[in-house]
């Protein structure tokens, strides 16, 4: 039973949080959408003028935009399943019963504590074509050195590797929690029925944690969709726009070319895409229950 309060008490408790959320999150969300319909006025000092959908058609006519869309699609189709599968694998390994497993689990958790830009700085030096540790190892074992971030063919894959160093351990936290929620009785029953490890995984474990797998896949998709810092620090969208993800493209337009209007249009569109993804997620999760 909760107390039905006639007083202002709950509103007083809520006031600071709600006001801050509205000012710093809700209003900027609407402003992004509104901004996308305006452009800087050609008449000096008169601020913004309404341009309606002209911003949008201007962007749609720009091949750089379409290139960044295709790079983002390609990136998303690889990075999200990859991170989800690796995270599940890491969780299965970290969740076994073995003495000293807690120690290993702590080590696997360490990248989660490291900030994205520190990870990017360290990895950026490690994948340096002429001095980096990775090529240093490749030389030692007799393999050809790789160009990594300096090649249009490898840059995006290298970015994926770098962000997965944090992403995989992070998402594995969710899978470890899910695995610990599986009742041991259902696993034991399957073993008694003669299931091997693979059958145990595909027939018992994965169906049981399917909602979490979906959640991780979708949350990961949303986060990687707005990936920005590694691109800004490592490649600035290059070489030859091969890592020019849409989030970086909005930054380039807004902050480097000073075209906040077209930058906001793109942000508004990304917003709509994310809302669609979230809508699909709740539909799928509901039909799963």
């Amino acid at each position: 039973m909760k107390i039905r309060s006639q007083t202002l008490v709950p509103y007083v408790f809520l006031f600071p949080a709600i006001v801050l959320l509205i000012i710093f999150n809700i209003i900027p969300a609407f402003a992004t959408i509104k901004q996308s319909l305006y452009a800087a006025s050609p008449i000096r000092g008169s601020g913004l003028v309404y341009v309606g959908f002209r911003n949008i058609s201007r962007i749609f006519a720009d091949p750089v935009f379409w290139k960044s869309v295709s790079v983002t699609l390609y990136f998303g189709l690889i990075v999200n399943p990859l991170q989800t599968i690796l995270a599940l694998g890491l969780a299965l390994i970290a969740n076994q019963r073995a003495s000293g497993i807690g120690f290993f689990r702590s080590i696997y958790l360490i990248p989660v504590a490291v900030s994205v830009n520190v990870a990017v700085v360290v990895w950026g030096l490690m994948v340096d074509p002429n001095a980096g540790l990775i090529n240093g190892i490749l030389i030692r074992i007799g393999l050809p050195t790789q160009p990594f971030l300096t090649s249009p063919g490898q840059a995006l894959m290298t970015i994926i590797m770098i962000i997965s160093w944090i992403g995989v351990p992070y998402w594995s936290l969710f899978f470890i929690a899910a695995l610990q929620g599986i009742p041991t009785s259902s696993l034991e029953a399957a073993v008694v029925d003669g299931a091997n490890q693979w059958q145990l995984l595909t027939r018992i474990i994965i169906p049981l944690i399917r909602p979490i797998i979906l959640f991780v896949l979708i949350a990961d998709t949303i986060i990687n969709f707005t990936l920005f810092v590694p691109i800004q620090l490592l490649t600035q969208g290059g070489p030859q726009l091969s890592t020019n993800l849409v989030m970086y493209e909005t930054y380039r337009r807004g902050f480097i070319y000073g075209d906040l209007g077209s930058s906001s249009v793109m942000l508004g569109a990304m917003f709509v895409v994310i809302l669609i993804i979230i809508g699909l997620q709740s539909l799928i999760l509901r039909s799963n229950r």
């Binding site: 039973m1 909760k2 107390i3 709950p10 509103y11 408790f13 809520l14 600071p16 949080a17 709600i18 801050l20 959320l21 000012i23 999150n25 809700i26 209003i27 900027p28 969300a29 402003a31 992004t32 901004q35 890491l90 390994i93 073995a98 080590i107 696997y108 360490i110 990248p111 989660v112 504590a113 490291v114 900030s115 994205v116 830009n117 520190v118 700085v121 360290v122 490690m126 001095a131 980096g132 540790l133 240093g136 030389i139 030692r140 160093w165 936290l173 969710f174 929690a177 073993v191 008694v192 029925d193 003669g194 949303i222 986060i223 707005t226 620090l233 906040l260 906001s264 942000l267 994310i274």
Partner: protein, 297 residues
């Protein structure tokens, strides 16, 4: 049918029982080798960066390319990189961020737990609407709304100020969620009897609820502190002035200004990374609960 299953079971048990000891030992050893290899792969960048940060500049990459095991040990040990970055104000940046982090934890902690308390313990008109505000902000990645937020901060004249770094990070929808879930499981009788004894809601919150909310407070403290300590892009936009420099900016600013001083870049990275790692390891259970528990709903 039944006999079939039983014989299957027997076979299976027989196989398991008859697995020779030596095979078991080998399986076990393989398992540990896999665990160690994964641990090594995960920790490798930090091992190298740590040892290279204690190496003179001209030898930073010496054992990395071509690779030698010495890359993981500071064989030419020197603290020159650390001394240099502290001379250039890295300590100041660490103190700035530490202060900001503590302020965020204390002020943000109150603001978020108050909201969580209200959602968990009261029924009031507009509750659904207000909760949906929290829900919406939880699902919108804050990077998407960064430009209007930046323009707002600019219009307020807050560029290069402490409040620009602090205020937008205080209300955190994940933590509001988490607190409201935590307070919902709180025994109602305790609160009721305190109210009957004439305690005000503020007294209930401070004297009864907070003292037994230690797990929640550790979780939210970790999340808020790490959020502030690891934030990079927002400070880059709103507080580029060296007086307000935060630790993550101090790391990468040396990329741009001192392109070639690699060992200092790595020393800064290590200092920026070590604090969250040391905080996370002893409290990992709380961190995991916070991250995983908050979004399970």
């Amino acid at each position: 049918m039944t006999t079939n299953v039983t014989s299957n079971q027997k076979n299976n048990l027989a196989i398991r029982v008859s697995t020779p000891k030596i095979v078991k030992t080998i399986l076990r050893a393989t398992n540990y080798i896999i665990l160690i290899i994964i641990a090594f792969l995960i920790i490798l960048p930090l091992l190298w960066a740590f040892s290279a940060s204690f190496t003179p500049l001209e030898k930073t990459f010496e054992y990395a390319y071509p690779f030698s095991w010495k890359a993981f040990f500071p064989v030419n040990f020197t603290t020159e990189a650390y001394v240099n970055i502290f001379e250039r104000g890295f300590g100041r940046a660490m103190l700035n961020t530490l202060g900001l982090g503590i302020a965020t934890v204390i002020i943000g902690g109150f603001i978020c737990t108050w909201a969580g308390f209200a959602f968990a313990r009261f029924n009031f008109p507009g509750k659904k609407l207000l909760f949906s505000i929290v829900l919406i902000t939880f699902t919108i990645p804050s990077d998407l709304t960064v430009i209007p937020r930046y323009i707002m901060i600019m219009n307020w004249g807050w560029i290069n100020s402490w409040q620009a770094l602090l205020v937008p990070l205080l209300a955190n929808s994940l933590i509001i969620f988490m607190s409201s879930q935590f307070f919902r499981e709180f025994p109602q009788e305790i609160i009721d009897s305190a109210r009957v004894d004439g305690a005000s809601w503020l007294q209930v919150y401070f004297l009864i609820v907070l003292p037994i909310s230690k797990p929640l407070l550790i979780s939210l403290g970790l999340l808020l502190f790490l959020g502030q300590w690891n934030s990079y892009f927002w400070p880059l936009l709103v507080a580029p002035d060296p007086a307000y420099r935060v630790v993550q900016l101090a790391v990468t600013q040396s990329v741009q200004e001192y392109q070639t001083i690699w060992n200092e870049l790595l020393a800064g990275s290590m200092l920026a990374a070590i604090i969250p790692i040391l905080l996370l390891l002893p409290f990992q259970r709380y961190f995991v609960n916070a991250v995983v528990g908050g979004v399970k709903e």
